[in-house]
Symmetry: C2
Subunit: 418 residues, 2 copies
């Protein structure tokens, strides 16, 4: 099945909005084993939209359309598609009922009601977040059109919950995916270790770069039923985990911070943070996780030497002798915050995020990290690799490394690898 | 002039990369007054790419192409375009020289050298960040093709520095833009205040939503020379500033934190932060600004009541009586961190970021902010508006509000508006 995406919206052409919908759908189609060959962005212009629909019908078996389903005068997608397909629009009673439910006692304008209109022959796709339902409809040529709202937080759940089952039926197969998440090795090294696993047809294994330079491996399997697909995927998932070893921090988890908070919560333990160059980013990422308050009470941003001494007890003499960016000071910060806060673990981070502030001995990108535990303190340096990736990247990578050190400690892996 | 964008790269179709290039170019074309009618994404496939080029030639006066200029076997854009235009590729001596400069003493492979190949008749566009030059070439039909590297940090400066002058020449005009940045009013309200300014043809004024729900107004003017364009734009810039008043925090500045750090640095003053629900985000944003160490030494993340008492001196009795999320505690946090750190200003933030933790009296999205100065303490509440925007949005908006309160104080505006 050949697919294409049409993203509708003048705000996309004006650059007001970045087309994350197309990237999301691209990933999902790849996981479904459906070949996406084209993405087109058109404005809220019925003439151009009709052209795009006609062209798509001529060359693709599946056309995913985002945008233009709302209640305003610019929302033309359904009417234009109905015209191109040569069918009329009717008011779907189930959609109308769901719209009324959404609005409750509030009055609904005529514009709002247009969202319940469906082309003849269409299957509505439920919108559990916003007002506009999507729809699936097959052209007489056999092309399947699926229409979704533009906003990602409405489109994404609609695609996953409503559209994927329909597509699985059509493909006569069920697809399951598992995301093996890793931190610590680059994509090239991962690909080498996975070798022929990435060439296989079913299950497939593909590497992706995630946020903060993490690499994740998506294992996808296709079978007649969900149970068979899972059974088919699992040996590959296990093989990927075995080959990658300790860099794997979870399967189908959101990120390192989620894993660390969960592990700490399991043990009823707490972590405290003392940050210099990361400036509060580590505390921010920990507190991104709902429930972090059960495992985190104290974060310090000791951005000057004086603050390190005043709040953490880092000796002035140590700062004078070794400098703030040193293993000694990182250790002192970690132990200091653990002691002061009463937490079970203390993390200290001190480095040169750049772009300024580097010297030959302590170049931009050098960051010392320390993890203080009851078993002692682990100290590690991140060193610059290749081209300077920028201040944000250095800070994010440092926060991730600190989380990964704690993750390894909590899960019984070597805290400092190789 | 009608324009379209062709984004080349299978990684875009697979959803590995989001197409920020198209959004950037869309904004820039809008500022140049050039009508963008289509964006197409195609994979690293010579057949489809040639089709896309031919179609574009038939309907657009300007075609911007991103991707596929690098040294790998997938990089086909130049060869494919040359074939479609019916010209050959030659090795440009200036490009070759610049490539040699880039590599210095390191050996250059044959693949790398292909980046110096240019279609006959092309004008190279200098790449000051990476290896692959871009190019501009006119088809016999009159369509102007401009090719850029895919990576945004190479494409964006190349477009602004190399392509815009060429386009200005072709448009027989120079375009200048000014970004008036605001915080505190929604886009709808801003549009109302700007009224007819947004309907004008030259200069134009357009509103955009930026990061963290800020709204900025882009004023663009077109004239024969740069001086004339600036002279034409300035009265509109001043009128926009006059109509929007205190919500304007700068023109052509990067963000609130940059303005605040600059203002503090001018006065040789410092700020310290005490955060609860924002979890370190405010300190992180302040330290995003290079040079923040001159104005920021201490940030505290007092995520538990006990920590607020221990580190800031917030009385236990106050916490018991009013709760952590209260104006009393926000004030106590701000005054406490100012006192403890010796800074000139203290900021306290305490609220309910959600999604859990809300009550009827203190719903999700309620955040109390306090700014402690030598003239007294300013206290303000952010309250939920409409649908819950999510944990990240509540936290970002709170950090922005805190920065804005300090910005207003430092620039002599009312800290708490209306």
């Amino acid at each position: 099945m050949q697919a294409e995406i049409i993203s509708v919206g003048t705000e996309l052409l004006l650059g007001h909005t970045v087309n994350t919908d197309a990237a999301f759908l691209g990933r999902e189609l790849a996981a479904l084993g459906i070949d996406l060959h084209n993405v087109t962005v058109v404005g809220d212009n019925p003439g151009r939209l009709a052209e795009a629909f006609s062209e798509a019908m001529g060359r693709s078996g599946l056309v995913l359309v985002t945008g233009g389903l709302g209640p305003t005068l610019d929302d033309l997608t359904k009417k234009t598609l109905a015209d191109v397909l040569g069918v009329s629009l009717y008011e779907d009673p189930v959609c109308l009922e769901q719209l009324k439910e959404y609005f409750g006692t509030r009055p609904m304008s005529a514009n709002q009601i247009t969202q319940a209109m469906m082309p003849e022959g269409a299957t509505p796709l439920r919108n559990r977040i916003g007002t506009a339902p999507g729809l699936a409809v097959e052209a007489s040529s056999g092309t399947l059109f699926m229409l979704f709202p533009g906003p990602p937080r409405e489109m994404e759940p609609m695609f996953l919950n409503e559209a994927v089952p329909l597509l699985s039926e059509r493909l006569n197969a069920t697809i399951v995916s598992f995301m093996v998440r890793t931190f610590g090795l680059g994509e090239g090294m991962l690909a080498m270790k996975l070798g022929e696993l990435c060439e296989a047809a079913n299950p497939t294994a593909a590497t992706y770069i995630g946020a903060h330079n993490e690499v994740f491996v998506r294992v996808t399997a296709k079978a007649a039923t969900r149970e068979e697909a899972v059974a088919l995927a699992m040996p590959t998932v296990e093989e990927v985990k075995a080959r990658l070893g300790d860099v794997v921090y979870g399967v189908d988890v959101k990120n390192l911070e989620e894993v660390v908070v969960a592990e700490l919560a399991k043990r009823h333990e707490e972590v405290a943070t003392a940050e210099s160059c990361t400036g509060g980013l580590l505390a921010k990422r920990i507190t991104d996780v709902a429930g972090a308050s059960g495992v985190f009470r104290t974060g310090l941003v000791t951005y000057a030497n004086e603050t390190k001494t005043r709040l953490l007890g880092v000796p002035e003499k140590m700062l004078a002798e070794h400098g703030a960016v040193s293993p000694e000071v990182a250790r002192s910060m970690a132990e200091g915050v653990r002691r002061e806060s009463g937490a079970d673990y203390g993390i200290g981070i001190t480095g040169v995020a750049g772009p300024g502030g580097g010297t030959e001995a302590k170049p931009v990108g050098l960051v010392w990290l320390a993890l203080s535990t009851k078993d002692g303190c682990f100290v590690h340096a991140l060193r610059p690799q290749g081209r300077y990736p920028g201040r944000e990247a250095v800070r994010q990578r440092s926060a991730s490394k600190a989380l990964d050190m704690l993750r390894r400690y909590l899960t019984g892996k070597p805290v400092i690898a190789e």
